[in-house]
Amino acid sequence: MAITVINLSDPISTLVTKTNTVASDLGDKANLSTTDKTSLVTAINELNSASNIASQVETFFNNDGVILDVGGFHADSANIDSAHITSLSSDTFNSNTINIDGVTVSDLKPLQIKNSAGTVVLAGYLLSTSNVDGTL
């Protein structure tokens, strides 16, 4: 749709038509769903507040079955009550900030059990309570 432009050469009748077109395009402010219907500016400003946007997003995702399905996601920090992560990887995985039962993942240590012949019968990792090497 082209922008309605009133030219200096337009006759009165065209001016009337174009003015009505502009008014029609703006719509009736009484029909605004915002709280403040004083003007389009105040209505838009009302929508533009962070708290209002956050409230609207929270209301949306609090509905059961609504899933955020995005191709990418970046957040400086997040607080997630629970999550199922199918695959987790990171180039800068900070094991010092991940806790399991109060123990940081940085204390994960290799653990092996050998039989008396020296054959490894169990190889894995042990989440230690100490970050000192050689101390379980």
């Binding site: 092996q112 059990i113 050998k114 039989n115 008396s116 019968v121 169990l122």
Partner: protein, 338 residues
């Protein structure tokens, strides 16, 4: 094959045993050896030729031959007494070495023995040789150190009561007898005339000086009942588990019993060593033989006395043993490794 430091669960973490905790396990082995199933025993068995043990001999001086004539004592020249001419052989102690036929615990699945830390983050099961090196060898050394250790045997002159010991038999294993100088001639030391000839008790008329008995040291005499930390092992599901106390006792008992009975250089052995007339040196030992209990001393008398006795015109003279004790042979029961 080496000395290891087993790990145990201390209630909140896996910890390596301290030196004192390992010592307690060795002492537990000594305690277990004091149980009734021990394979090495000494028994009283009179007349069975001292199986596995050397015999002992009690010697006694005997009176010299009597002489006589019809005119005077001066005409008599009685022969001397006979030093150690009479004897009794004591072969009353038998050694049994493999009672119960103990068997060596197998290293089933190579996980039968406790875990130790091989390197950072690596637990490894001990081998049976590790068990010997860590616990059993030292426990055997404790058992043969000459002190009253549980389940070992000793000699005592005590006939009925000896603290922390059980008498093997009410009969003595050796009796030191000497000519009854006091009873026969009142202990005379110079030529005297007494109405005792001819002798009614014969030339060998002994009296008991000292009796020696065999005793066994009771279980718990050395260290009481040592409480120990039970080590961890791994099971066939690779769990870390603590042995039950009875399982670990059975394991230690099996190894120390087997070692004491069969393991070369760690077989517990006894024998009588002797110094003096009937000398005997133990030669099959790999550890220094240690004396167990009182020395068994065979004594005789160190002098003779001439006794004259006139009956009508019969002048009798005879030399009889007298004097004080003279050691002929000193026997000692010894314990050692072979």
């Amino acid at each position: 094959m080496a000395v290891r430091t087993p790990v145990y669960w201390d209630g909140s973490s896996i910890a390596e045993m301290s030196a004192s905790q390992i010592t307690a396990i060795k002492q537990r082995c000594v305690y277990l050896f004091g149980g009734s199933g021990r394979p090495v025993n000494l028994t009283y068995d009179a007349g069975n030729s001292a199986v596995g043990m050397r015999r002992m001999i009690d010697t006694r001086d005997t009176a010299g031959a009597a002489t006589n004539n019809t005119t005077s004592f001066a005409n008599n020249s009685p022969p001397s007494t006979n030093d150690g001419a009479a004897s009794t052989t004591y072969d009353y102690v038998d050694l049994s070495q493999t009672d119960g036929s103990p068997t060596e615990t197998a290293d089933t699945n190579n996980i039968a023995f406790p875990l130790y830390i091989e390197s950072t983050g690596v637990f490894r099961s001990m081998t049976r040789d590790d068990m010997y090196d860590t616990f059993i060898n030292d426990a055997i050394d404790l058992l043969v150190d000459g002190n009253d250790r549980d389940g070992t045997y000793r000699v005592s002159t005590q006939p009925t009561t000896l603290a922390n010991h059980t008498r093997v038999n009410s009969n003595p294993i050796f009796v030191d007898k000497r000519y009854d100088a006091s009873g026969v001639h009142g202990g005379a030391t110079g030529t005297s005339t007494q109405d005792i000839l001819p002798l009614t008790g014969g030339v060998d008329d002994p009296v008991t000086i000292t009796s020696f008995y065999l005793w066994r040291t009771n279980q718990g005499a050395s260290y009481g009942t040592p409480s120990i930390e039970i080590p961890l092992q791994t099971d066939t599901d690779e769990n870390l588990v603590t042995y039950s106390p009875s399982e670990f006792d059975d394991l230690l008992e099996s190894l120390i019993f087997y070692s004491a009975a069969f393991r070369t250089n760690y077989i517990i052995h006894y024998n009588f060593e002797a110094a003096g007339v009937d000398a005997q040196v133990i030669t099959d030992n790999v550890s220094t033989p240690k004396q167990r209990g009182d020395a068994i001393i065979d004594t005789t008398l160190n002098a003779q006395v001439r006794i004259n006795d006139q009956d009508a015109d019969n002048y009798r003279s005879q030399n009889l043993p007298t004097g004080s004790a003279e050691v002929e042979t000193t026997y000692t029961l010894k314990i050692y490794r072979k």
